[in-house]
Symmetry: C2
Subunit: 110 residues, 2 copies
Amino acid sequence: MPSLPYYAVIFTSVRTDVDEGYLETNELLMKKAHEYEGFLHQDAVRDGIGIAISYWRDLESIIEWRKDSDHILAKGRGKKEWYRQYSVRIAKVESEYGMSGVEYSADNNH
Amino acid sequence: MPSLPYYAVIFTSVRTDVDEGYLETNELLMKKAHEYEGFLHQDAVRDGIGIAISYWRDLESIIEWRKDSDHILAKGRGKKEWYRQYSVRIAKVESEYGMSGVEYSADNNH
């Protein structure tokens, strides 16, 4: 686990019924995010609403990721095509704990 | 939306196949959390992994909630019966934005 504090970008959304380009773009973005040095981890689940949380080393890393050209393109399409509602929250993770002795498995990317 | 900063408790988990008491307890806890003055909102989704995020006005509210007797009982059962893995992160929400003009719908409780 990374040292505290680190940052979480909490993306909560409700989809439209437009699927075109959605999964491919998601996959591309995950691949690209992993290339950023400050990227730590992502968890994402959708069932009706979707919650995707990406974790980053610091705010600067999030700002770098915001400048990514594929990310910018995806955001534009997301607003117009894929999401009916969404909210983004930037949060500083100040503490964490888990079930002892069990490593939480990484990279759930749906 | 509440004024910034406020707090998020990010609970990420993988279930066992034990269902006994799980849904009832979830429902009870949601009802009780709503009775706390500092409780703001909860989003929860499960599909394979589960992500549940509850939002609170401040750290003190989270500490109050931790002392709730039903919450304490549920945590005990959760560790022993319902969760194979989990992690809890406490994070301070420093900024937020969303799709303009659209209110994100509240109380997704699964």
